[in-house]
Structure formats: C-alpha cells, structure tokens
Symmetry: C2
Subunit: 390 residues, 2 copies
C-alpha cells in the first residue's frame, strides 16, 4: 500500500485527523477523494479509507490490483465496507465524517445508506485543516518543488524569441517544466476552477476578467477554458507574467515572475517595486499567531499610500486576496484576505502574490511560496525578483 | 453571453433538456457544473443556469464581469436566484433537477434549501443523455478535433530518437499537440479519474495496472498520478502506444496509434491484426438501434476465436469495455460493455478501442472516433492503422 518508511509520516497524519475527529465528536471518517487518499495513503487508488477515532485505518481498494499491506481489503462496491469494519471488531460509527464539499451528492447519500449514521460531519473542512499544517517531510517536498520551479524560471528568458505569441511562449515553458519533472496535472480545490499547468499572461490580456477566483485572469484560447494565454503577440513595452504550477512533487509550489519586452512604463516599474515592498513588509510581520487579515490589510495600506488601488490584484476585475495556502492543491488553508478568520501557524505553507494590472502594459508583481516556522517565514522560491527584460 | 449565431444550436440543446425534464416530470433544472454550463451557454462561467420546463433559460453569473445578453443576471450568491426567478414571472419548481452526480453534497443541500423542492431529480443523468446525441454542429467540431489529432499523430515518428524514455517522447508529443492548438485540459466525467493530456505507454509499462477504468494503465511518474509514462527507456522489440486526448475544440477526439522500436514479436503483430479485424467487424455492424453489448460481444467472439483473451484490454488487470461515448468529456454515453443497456443512436459519437497487452512487448491495437449516422458509422480519425516502426 505504502512504503514502510512512510509509516511514521502517515501515522502522524492519521493521528492528526483523529484528533480533529474527537474535537468534533466523530466516531469514524471515510475518505474517497483522490487528494485526501494521497494524503493518508501516499498513493491515489480507487476506493476508500476508513479511520476510526482510535486505532489504525482500513484501506478499501477497488483498483489497482496488487496493493498489499496491513488492513488492505479489496472490495467491488462500498456496501462491503460496513461488514469488513465490523469483522475487524470496530463498532460502526454513530457520527461519521464524509467529504461533504468534495464528493458528489449521490455518493454521500450512498455512503450514508451504508452506515446509517445518526449524524454526518464534514470531513472536507476537517482534513483541510489538518492538511494545512505541513510536517518537516512535507516542507521538504515543497522545498524540492520550489527549487525546481525556480530553476525552470531561470531558463525562461532563453525560450523567448521576438514576435512570439503568448501561447508559443507558454508551450516552451510547459515543455521546460515537464522536462524538469513536472507532473503537469494542476490540482485545485473546488470543482469549478480549471487551469492547464499555469498562467502565462501577456500585455492587456492581464485585464481580461476570469470566471475563477484567480489573482489574474487572461482570456484563454477557448470559452471552455477561459483563462491564461489568448494568442496575443508579445509586444515591446509590455510585460508577460509567468505563473505556473510547480507540480514537481505532490506538493505544488507557486511562483510568479514578470518579464518584459524591452522597457515598460514608469507606472509599471513603480507598481512592481510596491509589490516587492509589500512582500518585504509581510515577510517582516509574518509569524505564527498573526491574523492573515492583518497581512492583507498591511498590503492594502501600502497600495493606498502609493495610490495604486485601481490596479491592485486586477484592474477591470479585482481578486479579493493576496495569498493562499498551498500543498497538494494550489488553494489550501490559510487564505490571506480581508475577512479571513485564519491566523498563521507553524507548518503553514502559503503563496504570497501581490500583483498589479497596468492597462496598456500588463501584469506586474511577484509571487513566492513561504513556509511558516516558529520565528518567522522561509522563502522557498528563491530567484531574482525584478522585472526581467527579454 | 454567447455569440448570436450560436442561438439556434443552444436553443436546440435547451429544448432537448426540456423534453427530458417533461419526460421525468421536472418543473425546473438548475446547472452549475462547468461542462454542463458550457453545453448550455457556449462558455464556462462561475454561476448557474436555470431552465424552466417551458420558455427561455436564465443565466446567473458570479464571474467574470461583463457578460451581456437576454436573461443574464449578476448575483453574489445562489440565494438570490429564487427571487429573480419569481420576478421573471416564473413559478418556483416543485420538482427540481440538480446535478446529483457532479455537484458536491453541500452544494446540492444549499440549492435545495433555496428552492425547497418537493422532489429533486438527477440533472446529471438527464443532461448526459441529451449530450450523448450530437448535433451536426457538434459533429463538425469533433471532425475538426479528429483531423488535427490525426495530423499530430502523422508527425509523431519524427519526434523519436533512439534511447529516449517514454516521458521524453511524451513531452515532445504534448508540445506537438499544444502547437496544433490543443487546450490540454483533459476532461473526464467522475471526479476520481485523472490524467494529464493522455497516455504514452511503452513496453511492459502497459501491464502496470491503473486505479482507473482506463483501457490501459501505465505506472505513472508519481503515486499522485499513477497512469501513463513511468520513465522507461523505449527498447528494441517493444511498442509504444500513443493515446492522447484531442482537445483541439470543446469536443475531445480520442485516437490511439501504436509505434514500435524495430520489429516486435509475431504474437504482437497477430494481436494487432485481430484488433483491426474487431474494428472492421464492428464498423460493419454498427448502426442506430444495435445494442452496444452486441458490439462488445462480437469483439469477444473474435478474441476467443484467436485465443487472445488473456491479453485483451489488459493482461494483469483487464478493462471491461471496448469503447465509450466522447464529447466535451472523454467518457460520455454510450458505453460498449457487456452489461451495457445502451444502444447506438444517430448522433452518438464514440471511441472504439480494441487493445491487447503482450507481456514483454507492450500494448498493441487501435482506437478511432466514430460518428453514428442513419445508415452506419463514420470514422473521424483517419490515419494509417498498422504498427509504425520508429
């Protein structure tokens, strides 16, 4: 099922979920979402993971064949789970946690009809809160992703040729990422947000509003996927913002760098410097215990001081956050937003992305991934942060 | 909201859904899934689509800003929908269709608490049955995807260099697809099946079982995405099966061709020829009215006649189908499987993929996309079908 050396790490995760279960009053937790299965089993499989509030978990596998290990049971359908749980001497749960924000309605109803819990609690929020606190192992995985992410970005200028379209440029960046080991598949929480590998946004395409709560939009190539490149030729005096998902490990780093075709307007350089100033201000403030809304508010203060509010986090449509937790998905807890109730905790990993859209020029700003330690934050994505002329 | 020239096409789709609603006894249908929104609005947006059983639909948009048109209403939250529906002189539905197999449990519960329907029916199955019957416009889109798909595959041999790994080969094929206009994003129905762009499966990696109900597996590069390439060097005497998603329009063509490094074993060539014979048998049989299980059974008869059953649709783990509907998603109706209740209908588009895994050699076989017309089927993905030596 999983490599023996992963047992301490996985065991730590199971215990953290059990702690959350006990806090909420749940007797059992059944998971089926791919991301959550990976989190608790170190692999995606078709099936279920059942965790009682005490003791070891049970793994119910439909596919693939050949998984072995303690408490691994092959099933054809979820109706077999209850019987196997009882056979293991485990009482069926009265209060059951299921992934209410992840599994389709009919799947939840089917699982409820198997267990007949007197109460169903939300495993989505519980497991997301556990996943938000990364272990040393997970921070190590993220560091590895971040290092490869930065190494790719260092190569980006070599890929540019004058007269290129944004999509031609994006395709070469995608290839660079894949050759560096990126899995490619972009993981977002919430079924409606879709993106292919990341965003490459040139010039005024930055001002095309997105249907999603992404920091920057882009019109996209098709109404089916209306984000990122729209086929624009990259023109002198404009920027191109590269914001790819760092899918080099299971832990997605998030990082943005801005390139320009020749020089850009003074306003664009000014806004970029303000983004860097916001970042360094937040780096100075950020430590366990601080409210993420305070970090957001600090950013807004600076934006107002420099009179850049109309351009901050978009121009025609503005995003309402400046950062977000990252992990197996690109949008984990915490969120750095004005009404967020989150506070930074040791083990959080988040992306901070103060950005501006300057009409006629494009997007400027910065994004880096940070890990929260006892005394402050560690920048994981280290690379030149100025606007790089192509 | 949508281009005026799309109105007849969209209007035809709305009426087809209304017909299904009346057949099932639904007064209203509310959709929110991206694929379904695209189907009814010709674009993905963040929001909802409400269709009463008679008359025109209402479009409820959260993002992006700037969508205009008849019956387009901007909302912040779904709770505003009911009031707007009433303001339009439409009675609130007693029997409401919601996407019970697509939306998360909590989303459905929230929508139910807005409309208080006496009964909730499943919009997922209803809209999937409508989406299965493609219009001339949709067949045209699929033909366009299929043509570009075939044009890419014709270039694949040029990408091969001796000693390449499967992933290096895959990356060059991905780039070729993207340069030909592929959107990249692979759309699968059912939240758990994940794949990046498609499968490139070399040699014995074909025998690595998949967690998903895909025809062929592949071990993958990571436990997070355990399908397709696993880093194998492509060796003389083995095959590489290329099965990419044709995401050139909103309608995904599906097509597989097999390449070999030098010559392969007689058993592999024999199995490949049997796959082609299965295909030509099914082409002769397939027309509106035939049970898809009969097509499956015809395939199995031939496989048995040639004593190839242990290799058919996988070796260590076998898939239980030989074809599947395609459209905006890669797995639409109908399915060509032994217990399927589907029959072919005019307007169906399906992929037929008889394949074998030959231990020590790899995967062989064929996959093409077909449209069902009044008198028979049309092959959309036209290209040399033999094993092509690299």
């Amino acid at each position: 099922m999983f490599k023996p050396e992963m047992l301490p790490e996985l065991s730590h995760r199971w215990k953290a979920i059990q702690k959350e279960m006990i806090r909420k009053g749940a007797d059992g937790c059944l998971l089926a979402d791919n991301v959550n299965l990976f989190y608790v089993a170190d692999r995606v499989y078709s099936g279920y993971f059942y965790l009682p509030k005490e003791g070891n978990p049970l793994f119910f596998v439909k596919r693939p064949i050949g998984l072995e290990g303690e408490n691994v049971f092959y099933i054809r359908k979820p109706e077999q789970i209850a019987e196997i749980v009882l056979q293991q001497g485990i009482t069926l749960p009265q209060t059951l946690m299921l992934e209410l924000d992840e599994l389709p309605y009919n799947d939840i109803v089917r699982l409820q009809s198997i267990f007949h819990p007197t109460e169903t609690l939300n495993a989505t929020t519980a497991v997301r809160s556990v996943r938000a606190i990364k272990s040393e192992y997970e921070i190590g995985q993220m560091r590895h992703s971040a290092r490869l992410h930065a190494a790719c970005y260092a190569q980006v200028p070599k890929l540019y040729k004058p007269g290129m379209t944004d999509i031609d440029f994006s395709i070469e960046i995608e290839r660079l990422f894949r050759r560096q080991g990126a899995l490619g598949h972009f993981r977002v929480f919430g079924q409606s947000m879709e993106l292919f590998m990341g965003s490459v946004i040139a010039g005024n395409n930055a001002d095309n509003p997105s249907p999603y709560d992404f920091a920057m939009g882009g019109g996209g190539l098709h109404n089916l996927l209306p984000v990122s490149t729209n086929g624009s030729v990259m023109m002198p005096g404009t920027t191109v913002m590269v914001d790819m998902g760092g899918t080099f490990t299971a832990y997605m780093s998030d990082m943005t760098r801005v390139f320009s075709i020749g020089r850009v307007s003074p306003l664009a350089y000014k806004a970029h410097q303000v983004a860097l100033e916001i970042q360094s201000n937040i780096e100075a403030l950020a430590k366990p215990g601080i409210a993420t809304s305070d970090l957001y508010n600090r950013a807004i203060e600076l934006v107002k001081k420099y009179e850049l509010l109309p351009y901050f986090m978009g121009h025609s449509q503005q995003a309402g956050f400046i950062g977000h937790g990252i992990g197996i998905q690109i949008n984990e807890s915490p969120v750095l937003a004005p009404r967020s109730k989150d506070e930074l905790k040791e083990g959080h990993i988040f992306a901070l992305e103060p950005k501006f859209v300057i009409p006629g020029v494009g997007a400027v700003g910065i994004e880096n991934s940070f890990a929260v330690h006892k005394t402050g934050i560690e920048k994981l994505t280290v690379l030149n942060e100025e606007i790089i002329e192509l």
